[in-house]
């Protein structure tokens, strides 16, 4: 076989190998991190329930405050709205009536903090930067004036 033909074969094999490597790499990347392949950024409104907050901290939380996730360092955005403060509660045994009740805790409060943020949305996950958002997840919200431990209680995706 001529040298020229050998070179052509060599290039064909190289191209095939590169294609196979590319397809395999794409498959694995899309499996491990689908958002790396397909981005679907949407505006998401998230309600964080600040829990067991003392009154002096409660007074510092205001609409327009910039807030971040203290664990993942994700900047979420500014606070869009706030609810009235409610007493924090604990599940306790009511022996007289034979049931467990939600009893208020003295001097501790809960407050809903609503934040509008940009997130990657798939049909399985909502990711704000490195922070995965699902109802019930604990997210410590931090601002330069306060840190409050929150639980996600509502997620709404803008159409």
């Amino acid at each position: 076989m001529s040298k020229k033909k050998n070179n052509v074969m060599k290039y064909v094999i190289e191209v095939i190998i590169l294609l196979v490597v590319g397809v395999v790499a794409f498959y694995f990347v899309s499996k491990i991190n689908p958002s790396a392949i397909q981005t679907n950024k949407k505006t998401v409104t998230v309600t964080f329930e600040a829990q067991d907050v003392e009154e002096h901290i409660l007074q510092k939380i205001e609409e327009g405050d910039p807030v971040s996730d203290n664990v993942k360092n994700t900047y979420f955005g500014t606070i869009k709205s706030l609810s009235e403060a409610r007493p924090a509660t604990r599940t306790v045994a009511d022996y007289d009536n034979q049931r467990f009740v939600q009893a208020p805790v003295e001097d501790l409060f809960v407050k809903d903090i609503v934040v509008e943020l940009e997130a990657e949305v798939t049909d399985l996950t909502v990711m704000a930067g490195e922070t995965e958002l699902k109802v019930g997840y604990s997210v410590p919200l931090i601002n330069e004036d306060y840190l409050v431990n929150c639980t996600v209680t509502k997620i709404e995706i803008a159409e």
Binding site: M9, I13, E49, Q98, K134, G136, Y137, T153, K154, I155
Partner: protein, 159 residues
């Protein structure tokens, strides 16, 4: 061994690699075809319930009909939410008279999520959805777009 691009001075190395590559591709496509055929023959429709215990109303509201359900640890979609029902959550209480009785918990709910999906029925009777073995009593973290809860499989049916 290799002389002028020829193995043992006789077989062209590039031709050999091309033939090997083609054989591997043909084998891979053949295996895929056979596996798909086998998969199609053993695929059954499964309906089962996931029981989530003692959660707040915010979690109940986060589980929506039509959402995909996935095994959180194994990252495997295991069906779609067909129905969501709630009942008051209960917990054992040790009474002052020395009894242990099941009593309701205020503002907490047990959620019964009906899930429909497709599973592979193996020759040993196992029902598998990807890497997830579906069996009565199995407990795992089941997630939807907005929720993630510890859930237990019950009322598993297939046809």
């Amino acid at each position: 061994m290799i002389k002028n691009g020829k193995l043992f001075g006789k077989i062209n190395l590039f031709d050999l690699l091309t033939i090997l590559l083609i054989l591997v591709l043909v084998f891979a496509i053949g295996m895929k075809f056979l596996t798909d055929k086998e998969t199609k023959n053993n695929t059954v429709e499964v309906t089962y319930e996931l029981k989530v215990e003692s959660v707040r109303d915010v979690t109940v509201n986060a589980i929506r009909k039509g959402d995909k359900v996935y095994h959180y640890q194994l990252d495997e979609v295991i069906g779609t939410v067909e129905d969501v029902k709630t009942e008051p959550a209960t917990d054992p209480m040790n009474t002052l008279s020395g009894e242990a009785i099941e009593v309701p918990i205020e503002e907490r709910y047990d959620v019964i999520i009906t899930v429909k999906g497709e599973a592979l029925r193996h020759s040993n009777g196992n029902l598998m959805i990807g890497k997830v073995k579906l069996v009565e009593g199995a407990k795992f973290r089941a997630a939807t777009l907005f929720a993630n809860c510890e859930a237990q499989v019950q009322n598993l049916q297939w046809k």
